[in-house]
């Protein structure tokens, strides 16, 4: 056994490692509640405007690249799966499997960002990037531009969150290599997993808001 696990003690304010791990989980859940409100407020502004300019925004939203968004939702759902399998592997002490699933998670995240980047490129060619090369299309009015502002703010913030997630998973890989993630104490990995899955959930709501509503 690596020595780190044998000498692992809870921090001074905790009685047991279990208490420490569960407290960390509670902490990240509370943090995710604030994230819910953060993205929820953004979606709130979007729907206020969408309520006011239903046709113009629906018109603008049809220019969002549906296949990119759909591929990405698939990628993220899959990454949530690989993440949970990584946690299971950690809890059950299967280290090679753990590393494999973590690498897979990072890979899926990176592909997501790649697809997103390509989508931005397509958007740029379509002249829908506000403040860069936006050209108002007939029938959209100023509300069209507001849609694209929302689109870039929302997807941009999501991409920042996802990049943070990728960084955290890489950090976890490093800790795994140092033997610090063991069946006795893998709370850090669980915390990262919760964050990762939540970033996935954000996309579950952004996806229909941006790509689907008003398509028909």
């Amino acid at each position: 056994m690596p020595s780190a696990a044998a000498t692992l003690k809870p921090e001074i304010q905790f009685a047991t490692l279990d208490q420490q791990g569960e407290t960390a989980q509670l902490g990240i859940w509370v943090f995710l509640a604030t994230e819910t409100l953060f993205f929820g407020a953004l979606i709130f502004t979007y729907y206020i405007y969408r309520m006011s300019y239903p046709e113009q925004i629906a018109h603008a939203a049809k220019d969002a690249v549906l296949w990119c968004g759909s591929v990405n939702i698939g990628l993220l759902l899959t990454s949530s799966l690989t993440m949970v399998l990584a946690i299971n592997a950690a809890a059950q002490g299967r280290r090679r499997e753990l590393v494999f699933w973590l690498v897979a998670t990072v890979a899926l995240g990176v592909i997501f960002l790649g697809v997103k980047g390509y989508e931005y490129y397509l958007d740029y060619k379509d002249h829908v990037v506000p403040a860069a090369n936006y050209v108002e299309k007939p029938g959209e009015g100023p509300a069209g531009e507001m849609f694209w502002v929302f689109y870039f703010v929302a997807t941009g913030l999501h991409a920042i969150h996802l990049s943070t997630g990728i960084g955290l998973v890489l950090y976890m890989l490093w800790r795994v290599s140092r033997g610090e993630i063991t069946p006795a104490y893998y709370a850090p990995l669980e915390v990262v997993g919760l964050y990762w899955s939540f970033v996935d959930v954000v996309w579950l709501f952004l996806y229909p808001s941006i790509y689907l509503v008003g398509r028909s």
Partner: protein
């Protein structure tokens, strides 16, 4: 089927994953049907179902500490305040939109 991290196999998660990907398909399909207001309703029901799956199964909302439920619910619950009370203004303001 066991879902606790200590003893879970891959199977329940793979099944849930397949279901969720299937739901995405349903969502995209209904988006193109001429069913008016029903299509966003279906799309968001799908999103809510996927969220519930991820929260409960993948993020193990069921396990200890039990307060996780409270924390997870609070964010969504508080959003209701923002959405609901703002609507008292936006649904009745006569000079909006301009």
């Amino acid at each position: 089927m066991k879902v606790d991290a200590k003893e879970a196999g891959a199977l329940p998660f793979v099944i849930a994953w397949l279901l969720m990907v299937g739901l995405v398909g349903l969502s995209v399909w209904t988006a193109f049907l001429p069913i008016g207001v029903w299509s966003p309703i279906i799309e968001f029901t799908v999103a809510a179902a996927q969220t519930a799956t991820i929260f409960i199964l993948f993020m193990r909302l069921k396990g200890p500490p039990s307060l996780k439920w409270l924390a997870a619910g609070t964010g969504f619950f508080w959003l209701l305040f923002l959405y609901g009370l703002s609507m008292t203004d936006y649904t009745t303001r006569s000079s909006w939109p301009s």
